[in-house]
């Protein structure tokens, strides 16, 4: 067994420097930067954001399309400009933003006392202890392998994240003719990036009966970019050796075809980057696969908060940033009183609903952001559908979905029923009625 120091932590390995901060934010995307900005401005003490990338800003760094910041900053910005905005705000408020710093693990399981994380950077190894930790590690798109798409393993297979970085940040050539898999908003971002890079787009395919973006975006892609959309269609295999030669497709009615292309982009199908949370033994929500959090962004581990798309893969950058801003109050309160609630009531969903966030409630706690819960469904439903919320068989709330439900698009449920929930009762269950 290794020796322990005064804090009861295992001694850091040779050459590992130890430092202390008041708040350590992990991930310098919109959520993490917004949290750091508000915390530093509110006098939380030393607030440090670490990010493993060489540049802060998160995913918007490589989203070159406009439309960022409209809601909260009231002006349209490109992704990189939006990323810069939050970097400047965090730094301007007095937070330290350190890039090229990878958090490699917890010095001990969080929630049992001292919070301490180990990092690697070109400056060496560190162990950073903190009064509170905010996880803002974001989400990634599932790659081809995780989607279990069979076939060969040729070059020319991307996710949108890799595509955008290749084109916008590295100015690499991509290919000549591409198939885009997925028709949620990020798929349309991929279309724009491909077209900007001079790549012909053979088609977009989605296994859903329709696209899942705004009507304007969908129509624009079809008319402006002349991208055919194949609905009810799944990818059954990749073909080609060395370089991708084609993608095999199957329509719901059984028809099959092969699209000749040298590039395929797998878009959407997000999964939270929950590795650090899991390494710390922090409880995950079964639906979101992110840390289970209450309406104040508290995880099951005392002192550890989580915000952004780690909690709900994915919502727009503005939503992530809003959560970062909102986490400041509970973090400050925890720094002041050290309290951490226990015995919260889980909020669960039944199929065809996929997940709900936040997914723990403390009936005495705050309302979730904008007074509502965010959900996803796996199935399209019409305008007459509704969400029904109950606890231990007791009806709590019913909510009509005015626009019906579409997979990969947010559904919202009001939080007005929270006061009626039994703090000692079983899980609150949301079903589609």
């Amino acid at each position: 067994m290794s020796a322990t120091n005064r804090d009861g932590l295992a001694a850091p390995g040779p050459g590992r420097r130890t430092r202390a901060v008041d708040v350590l934010v992990i991930g310098a995307g919109p959520a993490g930067l917004a949290a750091a900005a508000r915390l530093a401005a509110a006098g939380a003490g030393t607030v440090e954001v670490v990010d493993r990338e060489e540049q802060a800003g998160g995913v918007p760094r490589h989203c070159y399309h406009s439309g960022f910041g409209l809601r909260e900053l009231r002006r349209p910005m490109s992704g990189p400009a939006y990323a810069r905005h939050w970097c400047e705000l965090a730094a301007g408020a007095g937070a330290t933003v350190r890039t090229g710093v990878s958090v490699t693990g917890w010095a001990e399981q969080p929630g049992r006392g001292t919070l301490a994380l180990d990092t690697t950077s070109p400056a060496g190894l560190e162990r950073i202890t903190a009064g509170a930790v905010v996880l803002a590690t974001g989400a990634r798109e599932r790659p081809r392998s995780a989607r279990l798409v069979p076939g060969t393993r040729p070059a020319g297979v991307f996710t949108t994240g890799e595509l955008q970085q290749a084109v916008h940040l590295r100015h690499q050539r991509v290919g000549t003719r591409a198939l885009v898999v997925g028709a949620e908003p990020v798929g349309y971002s991929a279309v724009r990036t491909l077209r900007g890079a001079g790549v012909e787009i053979a088609a977009m395919v989605t296994d859903q009966p329709r696209h899942q973006t705004s009507w304007a975006s969908g129509l624009g892609a079809r008319l402006h970019h002349r991208v055919p959309l194949l609905t009810g269609t799944t990818v059954t295999g990749l073909l080609g050796r060395g370089r991708l030669a084609g993608v095999a497709l199957r329509h719901r009615d059984g028809r099959t075809t092969t699209v000749a292309c040298d590039t395929v982009v797998f878009t959407g199908d997000w999964i939270p980057d929950h590795e650090l949370a899991r390494l710390g033994g922090i409880e995950l929500d079964r639906g979101t696969r992110g840390p289970a959090v209450d309406t104040a962004f508290r995880t099951a581990a005392a002192g550890v908060f989580a915000v952004g798309n780690l909690l709900h893969a994915v919502e727009p950058a503005g939503t992530a940033a809003r959560e970062g801003t909102l986490v400041a109050v509970p973090v400050l309160r925890h720094l002041a009183d050290g309290a951490w609630p226990g015995g919260q009531v889980p909020v669960e969903v039944d199929a065809p609903l996929r997940w709900v966030a936040p997914n723990r409630i403390d009936p005495r706690g705050p309302r979730p952001p904008l007074g509502r819960f965010t959900l996803r469904t796996t199935r399209t439903a019409g305008r007459l559908s509704a969400l029904v919320i109950s606890q231990d068989g007791r009806f709590l709330h019913r909510e009509r979905l005015r626009r019906g439900s579409v997979p990969n698009r947010p559904l919202y449920a009001s939080a007005d029923w929270i006061d009626g929930a039994d703090p000692h009762g079983g899980p609150v269950v949301i079903t589609a009625g």
């Binding site: 990338e53 798109e141 790659p143 020319g156 290749a166 370089r243």
Partner: protein
């Protein structure tokens, strides 16, 4: 000593040419390079270990279940000892996790005592029968219904990529030539042998055929028709590192009349492997996965380790074992024609490789070939890409000496800029991003390039002229630029094949 990737071949008569730079051919070249001989290792692909050797179950076997008395049994047993010792010296990641053959029904349970006897006849005496209670104590995440198991503590997991690369690196450093992108298209009838290759003619006094899936084809050019290779495809699923805690041992199936079944095993990179399938095919290039194969594996995996199926899949791959109509290895020397064939090395080639190489030297000597006096030299020291030993990102001393080892490029696998730089400047540099992955693990993790793909590619082709390949690179596409970059690189490294 030279590594060539394009252009015509040297106009000389080699003493020995080895066809095929898989794990077996590379081991043979390494063994022969100790002798005062001119050796060439020729390979159709742009990299060493780019066929079956890169796509297997990565297990260092004891040989407990080989056919007793067979050549395979002897060479696996010897090879296991040799490779275990060599791996420790050369820094090849090995973890002696041990195996459990899990019996799921009475028939399998009844087969276990016979396997103990078989192991004894294969001179492996450490097996032990264990009951269900002990089994579940050892593997608490095992699915319900297991009746007992046979423990084989000597089974280990190993890095197949580093193994082949270490052999080939040592051969090249000892003076052997390695000719890549050099498919052999024919063998002439005279002496010396005149080989036709896609890069022109190549002459040699002695020819060694270690061409794996194509060994029978080359044999026929030499006038032999001993065997036919029937590729047997094995598809495998690699699960996320977060699944590593679910399994401690290699969980082997009990072989029955219905075949060998599917295993679950940790990998030295910290993932969990599920596979392989066993499909006899005609196509020697059919290394694709299939929906049926993956569904089959998931169904089997669900039984063995149910929680595994909740984890993300990091990679899917398929390899082709070079099966023949005979169950044993086909290693034949033709003293008259001065050629030797190493064929039918199916699943155990990685384990047996060093013993096969020693066996080849014996056969050549018996055939009257004068190989000269072997010289002893220290083993190479390879960069560590395994999880059981400190990786550069964990080493304060290394990062203090060179901060590039603290600059992580591939976050999922925690591969530093320093390691990528070293691999690109190594004795046998990668010719594709996939080759770089096998040397460093860069871009091999759960995100498969979402975060690092473009950055890794920028390091691979700093000129920025090559395509953003978005996945495995094409074979041989960048051979020339790789060679020039490697020779032109002036950067010194703390770790080039001199790992921790």
């Amino acid at each position: 000593m030279a590594v060539t990737t394009s252009g015509t071949l040297p106009d000389e008569v080699y003493d020995i040419v080895v066809i095929g730079a898989g794990v077996v051919g590379a081991a043979i070249a390494r063994e022969l390079s100790r002798y005062p001989l001119r050796i060439a290792l020729v390979e159709a692909s742009g990299d060493v270990g780019d066929g079956t050797s890169k796509a297997n179950t990565a297990i260092l076997h004891t040989g407990f279940d080989a056919v007793p008395g067979s050549l395979e049994s002897r060479l696996v047993r010897e090879g296991q000892r040799r490779l275990a010792a060599y791996a420790a010296e050369a820094g090849i990641p090995v973890e002696p996790v041990g195996a459990l053959l899990v019996a799921w029904n009475e028939e399998q349970l009844a087969a276990l005592p016979r396997l103990v006897e078989k192991a004894d006849r294969n001179e492996y005496h450490e097996t032990r029968l264990i009951g269900a209670d002990e089994l579940y104590a050892l593997e608490p995440h095992l699915g319900p219904g297991a009746l007992g198991a046979l423990a084989v503590p000597g089974e280990s997991i190993i890095c197949p990529w580093t193994t082949t690369l270490a052999y080939a690196t040592e051969a090249v450093r000892d003076g052997a030539d390695l000719h890549l992108n050099c498919r052999v298209t024919g063998v002439g009838g005279g002496a010396p042998h005149e080989l036709s290759t896609v890069r022109g003619p190549l002459r040699t006094h002695i020819l060694i055929n270690a061409a794996g899936l194509y060994a029978d084809e080359i044999d026929r050019w030499l006038g032999h028709a001993d065997f036919t290779v029937t590729p047997r495809r094995g598809q495998l699923l690699v699960f996320d590192k977060l699944a590593r805690g679910l399994v401690r041992h290699i969980l082997l199936p009990v072989p029955t009349a219905l075949g060998k079944g599917v295993l679950v095993a940790p990998t030295v990179y910290g993932n969990v492997l599920l596979g392989p399938t066993a499909e006899d095919l005609d196509d020697r290039t059919a290394t694709g996965s299939t929906a049926e194969g993956l569904a089959f594996l998931r169904e089997r995996g669900e039984r063995i380790l149910p929680e595994l199926l909740d984890e993300e899949v990091t990679a899917v791959y398929a390899g082709l074992r070079a099966a023949t109509e005979e169950s044993d290895y086909r290693i034949r020397c033709d003293p008259d024609r001065r050629c030797l064939t190493v064929g039918g090395i199916r699943s155990t080639g990685l384990t047996a490789s060093m013993a096969i190489a020693a066996h080849v030297v014996e056969l050549l000597t018996e055939a009257g070939e004068k190989l000269g006096e072997p010289s002893e030299r220290p083993a190479v020291r390879m960069p560590n890409i395994g999880e059981a030993f400190p990786r550069p990102y964990q080493r304060a001393d290394l990062i203090a000496a060179d901060p590039e080892y603290g600059r992580i490029v591939c976050h999922c696998e925690r591969v530093s800029h320093g390691e990528i730089r070293d691999a690109l400047a190594s004795t046998i540099p990668p010719s594709t991003p996939e080759g770089l992955r096998r040397r460093t693990r860069a871009r091999g993790g759960r995100c498969q390039g979402f975060y690092c793909g473009a950055a890794v590619r920028a390091l691979f082709s700093p000129e920025g002229t090559s395509e953003a390949a978005g996945g495995p690179g094409g074979p041989g596409s960048t051979g020339a630029s790789t060679a020039s970059r490697a020779s032109g690189s002036g950067t010194s490294s703390l770790l080039p094949e001199v790992g921790p």
